[in-house]
């Protein structure tokens, strides 16, 4: 089991290979569908004018994400009234929905790791090679367990997206993940998909 703390260097990323189990510590930021769409449209493709606190949040995100990790997660959070936030349940959400955005976000902000579940596609895999970065698979549904590794909630951006879609800045200690896409073009998801397709074709060819 490798122990890695954010911010992560290119050297550490290049050493990681598909199948490696990692315990991750340090600061990371949650971001999912609304956040990725917003980052791409407002700061990367600039098809939308910045509004409200957008530019201020952008400056903060540039610092926070540089060398760090985005976590695809829509947590259950207590303390919304008092702003003494606590993560109650915080497993990964399905990552493939961010496939159109992820590689560009990684390159723009120098994001070294993306945590989620279910894996991502060819565009993100190329983004992992170029940034360089890795895709880190957390255990889907293990929400109470993973919330226990969140030792502190530093704050939240874009809470107007709603609690699940907001960008939460969190401190984690020994958050367990498995590398399923590395910076050398390796993807466990592509391997399993291809192998299972072969079995499916054989099964479909059998008589009823």
């Amino acid at each position: 089991m490798k122990q890695i703390t954010t911010p992560i260097s290119d050297e550490v990323i290049r050493e990681l290979k598909v199948g490696d189990a990692v315990n991750l510590s340090g600061t990371m930021v949650t971001g999912r569908d609304a956040a990725h769409k917003w980052m791409i449209e407002t700061f990367i493709k600039k098809t939308r004018q910045p509004q409200g606190d957008d530019l201020q949040v952008y400056e903060e995100l540039k610092k926070l994400l540089n060398g760090s990790v985005i976590y695809h997660c829509g947590p259950v959070v207590a303390g919304l009234d008092t702003k003494e936030y606590k993560f109650i349940a915080a497993g990964p959400t399905t990552s493939i929905r961010e496939e159109p955005y992820q590689a560009d976000v990684m390159k723009h902000f120098n994001v070294k790791g993306v945590i989620g579940k279910g894996g991502m596609g060819a565009k993100t895999l190329k983004g992992c090679e170029e940034t360089p970065g890795v895709y880190l698979h957390a255990i889907g549904g293990a929400a109470s367990f993973l919330a226990q590794t969140v030792v502190k909630v530093h704050g939240v951006f874009k809470l107007d997206f709603g609690v699940p879609e907001a960008m939460w800045v969190i401190e984690v200690r020994e958050f367990p993940v498995v590398v399923t896409m590395d910076s050398h073009g390796g993807s466990q998801h592509a391997v399993v998909d291809e192998a299972s397709k072969k079995v499916l074709d054989d099964l479909l060819a059998q008589p009823y």
């Binding site: 199948g19 189990a21 609304a34 997660c73 829509g74 947590p75 259950v76 959070v77 207590a78 109650i88 349940a89 915080a90 497993g91 959400t93 399905t94 493939i96 579940k117 279910g118 894996g119 698979h137 255990i139 889907g140 549904g141 293990a142 929400a143 109470s144 367990f145 993973l146 919330a147 226990q148 997206f161 709603g162 609690v163 699940p164 879609e165 367990p176 498995v178 399923t180 466990q188 998801h189 391997v191 399993v192 998909d193 192998a195 299972s196 397709k197 079995v199 499916l200 099964l203 479909l204 009823y208």
Partner: protein
């Protein structure tokens, strides 16, 4: 009529935080099938730790507390208007207590209501008047990740050579499992409905998921297909979380319904391993939870 808001709140707490024993048993049994030290086995071990922790702390098993699907079987004399009001109050309170994540988002304006009450249809409530004396409320929480990998096929489907018979049904269900990979949080449970229109077919494919693990269809032909599909799905090697492994599907449940001569739909609802479903029964003055 008795106010059941607090009892329904307890039903929601139990459903979100305590996985039914029949599901847990299957998950525990599947561990031994995976190689020691493999990512698949590690995933199952973490899943089991999480099940214990959630139950002990009354915290959600999964942060995606899903679409709340209520089936209310009520005896003559109960008011469905009042029951609906009580379910909705309980849902808002459950959200405040972090048993539920605020999950109702206005699709047009992208606004989360913050309390799990969205228009008239969220939470989803189905009422059925029954002849008995007991009021039974069933609740299932179905997360978005697994809902997104559900599929509906209109047979014949020439792309995989699936005709309008059980042989064709088998083909499309296996296709759905392969396409889902690990994205529906495998190991999953398959709810399959054959027939109906597009709407009724999907609804039935979820309704079958209220039955216990291992419950087989009374029709031996369908019972055999249920067993066969589970077995064949597990040959595909997708495994827990899609890491690769032997445990892809824990069980399959099939139901049939009438169809139009022109239509032959097969709907596959994929349920994640966090198969949250619970039941409460109001028997006279007593409330019993399963």
């Amino acid at each position: 009529m008795r106010d059941l808001t607090n009892e329904i709140l307890e039903l929601i707490r139990r459903t979100s935080s305590s996985l039914p024993p029949d599901v847990e048993k299957r998950l525990r049994a599947s561990i031994e099938k995976e190689e020691p030290g493999s990512a698949a086995r590690g995933a199952l071990e973490t899943i089991l730790k999480n099940i214990d922790l959630s139950r002990a702390n009354s915290t959600p098993i999964c942060q995606d507390t899903g679409t709340p699907i209520f089936y209310v079987h009520y005896p003559v004399g109960w008011s469905t208007i009042k029951l609906k009001g009580q379910i909705r109050s309980a849902m808002a309170e459950a959200t405040k207590r972090s048993y539920m994540r605020p999950n109702a988002v206005d699709a047009i304006y992208d606004k989360n209501t913050g309390n799990n009450l969205g228009g008239d249809d969220f939470p989803y409530i189905h009422f059925e008047e029954t002849e008995g004396d007991d009021l039974v409320i069933e609740l299932m929480l179905k997360g978005g990740g697994c809902e997104n990998v559900g599929r509906q096929y209109s047979l014949p489907d020439n792309s995989i050579g699936a005709g309008r018979d059980l042989a064709g049904v088998r083909k499309v269900v296996l296709d759905a499992v392969q396409k889902a990979q690990g994205q529906g949080c495998a190991p999953g449970i398959l709810g399959v409905a054959i027939g109906g229109d597009r709407g009724s077919s999907y609804i039935k494919s979820k309704e079958v998921l209220f039955s216990e693990m291992g419950t087989r269809n009374e029709d031996p032909k369908l019972a055999e297909l249920e067993e066969r599909l589970t077995n064949e799905a597990n040959q595909m090697g997708i495994g827990p979380m899609g890491f690769g492994g032997k445990t892809t599907v824990l069980d399959t449940k099939i139901t049939g319904l009438s169809r139009l001569p022109a239509s032959y739909f097969v709907s596959v609802s994929y349920m994640c391993w966090a198969y949250r479903r619970r039941k409460m029964t109001v028997k006279g003055g007593e409330v019993i939870y399963d």
